[in-house]
Amino acid sequence: MASTIPWERVRRSASKLTTPLHPDDYLRLVNPLWSARELRGRVEEVIPETEDAATLVIKPGWGWRYNHKPGQYVGIGIQVNGKFQWRSYSVSSPPERGRGTITITVRAMPEGKLSSHLVKGLEPGTIVRLALPEGDFVLPDPPPQRILFLVGGSGVTPVMAMLRTLDRRGTMPDVVMHYSSPTEDRMIFRDELDRLEQKHDGLTLHRLHTDIDGMLDLADLDQICPDWRERETYACGPGPMLDAITEHFESNGLEEHLHLERFSLELGGEGGEGGTITFQNSGKTIEADGATTVLEAGEEAGVGMPYGCRMGICHTCTLTLISGKVRDLRNGSEFDSPNEPVQTCVTAAVGDCTLDI
């Protein structure tokens, strides 16, 4: 792997032979993983974790760096009915170069068609697209002396990456973990967590089965983990749980020590019309209602927007949507995948969004 630079150079000179394409555009037809143009990976294995959750072992192709920080998530794009759909999932494997694979653990959401497809419908050998790891919910290196993990449901995945990293590096500090799950059966990684708890004296686990015992009352934190105020706390789980935790820490003046990952941020369906559109490169922003196209809003904000037919035909106006959601005014389809190209002349903002121009 030390020869990365000359290899890049070979590919660059080879592109004289393949212009306007890259050598990778041909090589990927031989082996789908031989392309760094778009990150991709092959699903090697689908390991069932619980009834509705599975771990996907993915072998990334060229261009993957294996340098994610424990706790980060990756984007994964799957072609469903011809169309690539993107979602983000925490990486549950520790960063490790020699491994050659990464794992993500997915729980099938009742309404989530894509997550169900990932858990139940994915054949080993499927080629998926990947996006580079992102996210600030990471374990610093060296880790804090005393850690509290507050985990709910499949929020365990980024925390698992952190625990595995601590285990692998042999740097397990004083860790208390509180893990809520509806039932014991639905507790992802419960066997591995048992093993880790036995192996490391510093690791204490509290399991809560909320179907029987109810939700965690944060007032109980004083009994579960009396020194929680002196710990760095990492919390990941459903929105209401994180809201309650945030409130609890704020009222104790400890928000500086709380780190959150909202792994399933769902915006309300209605009432999201219009919003603030940010044009990233020009640094301009503007308020737009749900009937104003992104193109018109950009022009009003004084951004040099590309445009052509202004009727959705010529695609001259297509820009990359970095974040947020827009709606196609012609047919109501919504675009909210990160880095999705959108036709600005026929789309309007649904909530705040950011465009790459």
Binding site: K16, L17, T19, P20, L21, D25, Y26, L29, R37, E38, G77, Q79, N81, G82, K83, F84, Q85, W86, G308, C309, M311, G312, I313, C314, H315, T316, T318, T320, N331, S337, N339, E340, P341, Q343
Partner: protein
């Protein structure tokens, strides 16, 4: 005669035109909603075949030319494979991808925003001059540069000058060097000639064309021949042959799009306050199809469905055959002219127009058909076919009585 009002030309009422617009929108919606895995498989398979052809052609030429016995067949086969690859890449793949036909797949590797095609014209310029100027202002005199590309006189309304006497020569040059003609497409040669072009923009465009063109020339005429060592000449001539094959073929197909008899021109009055439905109608009247089998259509970049392509430039090209059936039925229902014919006839008509219009109008006659005369039968049924009158409009109105006229 250029048309200043499509409604008048086709004897359609405003309601009928709106209804046609709705029916065409309906066809669009049906296709959009049924796009799926098999369409995605089509474009991916085609790209695989095209890149396979490219690789096979290059290898055949590099290896096959090294041995005396195989040199000649390798030249023929290699040039053929390369020519085929370039035709597929430029026409059924590049042109259609850049129209956004496959953007719905959300695949950044097959997307209009970043596709570059294997020809000298930079994609960015093509998406302006073709997708916007040509597709929106199709066949409008003074707006659509594709009426002769600023080189040929293709409409009787365009002023004749002695320069046009050379049209047969310009035409054969354009056909042979078509790649380079296309490269200059967005420069708008006519405006440069008239001194109306912004010099800064022109410099930027020329730089882009230079960079893209240089890479194309280096690849086909320097690097690959050099790799063949002593046989550089064989590879070079094969590459020239492949490029010229592609040039002649794409030239011919493209000239069948709007130049056969029956594809009519429009004046700028037509595009004043033009509705979407009227725009649709103009696309049908201004374009010409040609007939052929599936293979011919794929090799022509589906431009044998020029009418359907102009109605729905961003719907996947593999669906044009089924769209065409619906559009033909619609054209028959409303007595809208629908121009089609065998490839040789369509190109023959275009070629004849090039020759004829090299001469002043008074020496030749027009080949454009008379405007359609609606059959009485259809006119009588016309009122019943329209959507029933909206009650909030009251019992009678002027436009309604005109509509009956």
């Amino acid at each position: 005669m250029a048309i200043s009002d499509v409604k008048e030309y086709t004897h359609l009422t405003e309601d009928e035109v709106d209804q046609i617009g709705r029916e065409l929108d309906q066809i669009r919606t049906e296709i959009e909603e049924s796009r799926g895995a098999s369409d995605a498989a089509y474009i991916n398979r085609l790209i695989k075949i095209q890149r396979g052809l490219a690789a096979a052609g290059r290898v055949t030429l590099l290896v096959g030319t090294q041995f005396k016995e195989t040199r000649k067949p390798a030249w023929v086969l290699g040039a053929g494979l390369l020519g085929l690859h370039k035709i597929l890449e430029n026409m059924e793949i590049g042109h259609n991808v850049m129209h956004g036909q496959w953007d719905w797949m959300n695949d950044p590797e097959i997307h209009s925003s970043n596709w570059e095609w294997d020809t000298a014209q930079p994609a960015e310029q093509w998406k302006h001059s073709h997708n916007y100027i040509h597709h929106q202002f199709t066949n409008v005199l003074g707006y659509d540069n594709d009426i002769g590309y600023g080189i040929l006189r293709m409409a009787r309304e365009q002023k004749w000058s002695p320069y046009n006497l050379g049209q047969p020569i310009y035409n054969s040059l354009l056909a042979t060097l078509f790649e380079w003609g296309v490269a200059l497409h967005d420069l708008d040669i006519e405006r440069i000639r008239k001194g109306e072009k912004d010099p800064k923009e022109m410099k930027r465009q020329l730089k882009q064309i230079f960079r893209k063109g240089r890479n194309q020339i280096l690849k086909d005429y320097v690097v690959y021949p050099a790799l063949a060592g002593k046989q550089w000449k064989t590879v070079l001539t094969a590459n020239v042959a492949a490029n010229i094959t592609r040039n002649l073929w794409s030239y011919m197909i493209i000239f069948c799009g709007h130049f056969p008899d029956g594809a009519v021109h429009f004046t700028e009055e037509e595009i004043e306050d033009e509705t979407r439905a009227e725009w649709y109608l103009r696309q049908i009247l201004g374009s010409a199809n040609f007939e052929g089998g599936r293979m011919l259509h794929i090799l022509s970049g589906s431009l044998g469905f020029q009418i359907e392509h102009h109605l729905f430039p961003d719907l996947p090209s593999n669906r044009y055959p089924e769209i065409a059936e619906k559009v033909q039925a619609l054209a028959a229902k409303y007595d809208i002219p629908y121009t089609t014919g065998p490839l040789y006839r369509q190109y023959g008509q275009a070629l004849r127009t090039i020759m004829k219009l090299s001469l002043p109008n008074s020496w030749t006659s027009s080949d454009q058909p008379e405007p359609p005369t609606p059959s009485h039968d259809r006119k009588r049924r016309g009122d019943d076919e329209r959507p029933s009158r909206r009650t909030e409009l009251g019992g009678w109105s002027r436009s309604h009585s005109e509509a009956r006229g």
